[in-house]
Symmetry: C2
Subunit: 394 residues, 2 copies
């Protein structure tokens, strides 16, 4: 089944990307063709998955290796539903965190604490790792929203719901009422599209951590940290902040043209891997449009679409996965600080698959550096270092 | 000042190491010559630093760029001393963690929680990053030992001490009394030797995380996760578990020869970068010997030295930094579960220097993968997936 896809169309080394095009390992989890506008999870086109599958089916595909049958899916959903609760220690840790914290920092801390409560067994069997992955998929929304309500109002919410899906569970906990089916479907599609993306920076971080023999929670905690950056998952919140700067599409057009002329970066456009377009954008644009129609609220959508046209026209740049995710989340009434945590909730599926795969590979990831520091220096003891060093020659 | 050191004697690609010999960036923090038995921090030989410096001098060198004058050192020590306390939120989070947790998981959680309490400013100025680094150096022992005593006895200890040094602070909190000068000196030297090591797996993880634009705490949290693995920092606890298997040096020799004959791995020997010897081992052996002499307890030392001889004789393998660190920590009365956290306390200095350097470089680290999964598969909707997937062809 091995494919030669990986050897086609590698991107040229980009100045802004270290190790660009360098093969750091092998994977069967997903394939990206940078020039060919293509992303597949275990061989399936991500657009088919986003329009035809629930997030649970895709999590099963990524973590357990196959698209589930109806029977398997029902079992899997029951399993996830049963693991939404949080142990008391994790609640206590979340309650300790300040209301001003960023939810990504909260999720990082909550999952790290969960790793103290239910540590992975040192034998690191793949079946146990998959069970931890499922627990994290099930309980990440609980962590985020338990903290969100506790920090906001001092309320300890009940984190178990009857929703069939992770997306439904998240929306019910956020809004305190069951979401409409079409809202769940939209959030679900974005979770599918955010679920996996080959050796992106957070996944590579998760693999680097698990490659030392470390535990599952350490790898996920590190990956959340990497995803938080604005050059990675943090970009969806940053993209939203671009859109909400404007009151109208005309105002957006004029300001964005100015910014482009002044060589300022506009978040939500371009990609470190894709060169022509992002295969995930169209599905999200369509879903965001549907939500805008249903709510009869086109303001944010019209601004986002205009900026997309301007960026294509003036910079030949395409909207990436973050652009319409931001619009979609706004239309679902999700606060901007939760945008990147939703990305994390979804990507746990991909990270988990990569952690398990990296362990089978059994290699530590240890590159080297080009040394650009001082040559050999003679050591000077403290007694001889008379003057403060700022007055000494380097 | 740039040097061509980095281009000498790169190790050949090793099967057990991914990206071995691949340059993933440049650094002025340290240089390693794999064949030449050499490790320098900002140009200074690590052996001179370990025998001639306090850990605080080396932390200043790594984080602030220079070996401090006596006046600067006094100021720096005062600064670190003033930051040993833990905010209430971090105490509460640590109190929530179970007594059975691994201290590495506790440290990961505590630092992640501290990042919620004192988040880094989004401007990520280097001077603020250095201030966070100093706070982490100062407070990591407090976190570890606050949790250790609270989990063990329910006691909320006072974490501020009058010790001048991080090593002294750690030992005072651990044992509840001030340590002898020679004990502080021994622990201090091991902190110096653990302080930095170029693009090792945890440092590379910290750099990968900070390269996305993420915050300082995320990078440190991820690095702690990577260090935890037994192929990395976790090896010092694993090395200790080798040594304490035996009652006598003769018993050790006979069993280790058997293990070598059966091709079993003996932890604490060899290194992914060094090929001839580890430049840090000799200083640690000497210090461990001195501690054994002073306490008139040579049992563990004699077993460790015999195994070193056997490994050299039977496998031509050298003891690495972890081997005599384990002996030294044992002689200081430190519980084995704290060995890797001590490594982390020290390496925070190196990680911090690399995080700041990576930010200056301003590149995201994003390698690629060789795809070995299934070729394009036709999507099958749930309704058409009749049978459980275990009965379908792959």
């Amino acid at each position: 089944m091995a494919s030669d896809l990986a050897n086609l169309e590698r991107p040229a080394q980009k100045k802004s990307v270290a190790l660009s095009g360098v093969v750091a390992g092998s994977t069967a989890v997903s394939s990206v063709i940078p020039g060919g506008d293509h992303l597949r999870y275990r061989g399936y086109d991500v657009r088919d998955l986003a329009t035809g599958c629930s997030f649970e089916e895709v999590a099963h595909l990524l973590i357990h290796g196959t698209l589930p049958s109806a029977e398997e899916l029902a079992t899997y959903q029951r399993k996830l539903r049963a693991q939404r609760n949080l142990p008391l220690a994790v609640r206590r840790a979340l309650e300790a965190l300040p209301a001003a914290a960023h939810p990504m920092d909260v999720l990082r801390t909550g999952i790290s604490a969960l790793g103290c409560v239910f540590p992975e067994s040192p034998d690191q069997k793949a079946e146990n790792a998959r069970a931890i992955a499922d627990r994290l998929i099930a309980s990440a929304p609980s962590m985020l929203l338990y903290w969100y309500h506790f920090a906001g109002s001092g309320c300890s919410i009940e984190v178990e719901t009857d929703d069939d899906t992770v997306a439904g569970h998240f929306l019910t906990l956020l809004h305190g009422r069951e979401a409409h089916h079409h809202q769940v479907r939209a959030l679900q599609a974005s979770l599918v599209l955010y679920g996996e993306h080959e050796f992106n920076a957070s996944t590579f971080t998760a693999r680097s951590i698990s490659a030392t023999g470390s535990d599952f929670y350490s790898a996920i905690t590190g990956a959340i940290g990497a995803l938080r950056g604005t050059k990675h998952g943090g970009a969806n919140q940053a993209a939203y902040e671009v859109i909400v700067r404007y009151r109208t599409a005309d105002e957006a057009e004029s300001d964005v043209r100015n910014r482009v002329a002044n060589k300022q970066v506009v978040m939500g456009f371009g990609h470190p891997v894709y060169r022509v377009s992002d295969p995930r954008t169209e599905v999200l644009r369509t879903l965001a449009n549907e939500l805008a129609d249903r709510s009869n609220d086109h303001k944010v959508m019209s601004i986002a679409e205009r900026i997309e046209v301007v960026m294509a026209d003036s910079k030949n740049m395409f909207a990436n996965v973050d652009w319409y995710s931001a619009v979609l989340y706004d239309l679902l009434g999700i606060p901007a600080s939760m945008f990147t945590p939703i990305f994390a909730m979804a990507r746990i599926a991909g990270w988990s698959a990569h952690i398990i795969e990296q362990r089978e590979d059994n290699k530590i990831i240890r590159p080297t550096a080009s040394y650009v520091g001082p040559d050999s220096r003679t050591f000077v003891s403290l007694a001889e270092r008379g003057m403060p060093s700022r007055w000494r020659a380097a």
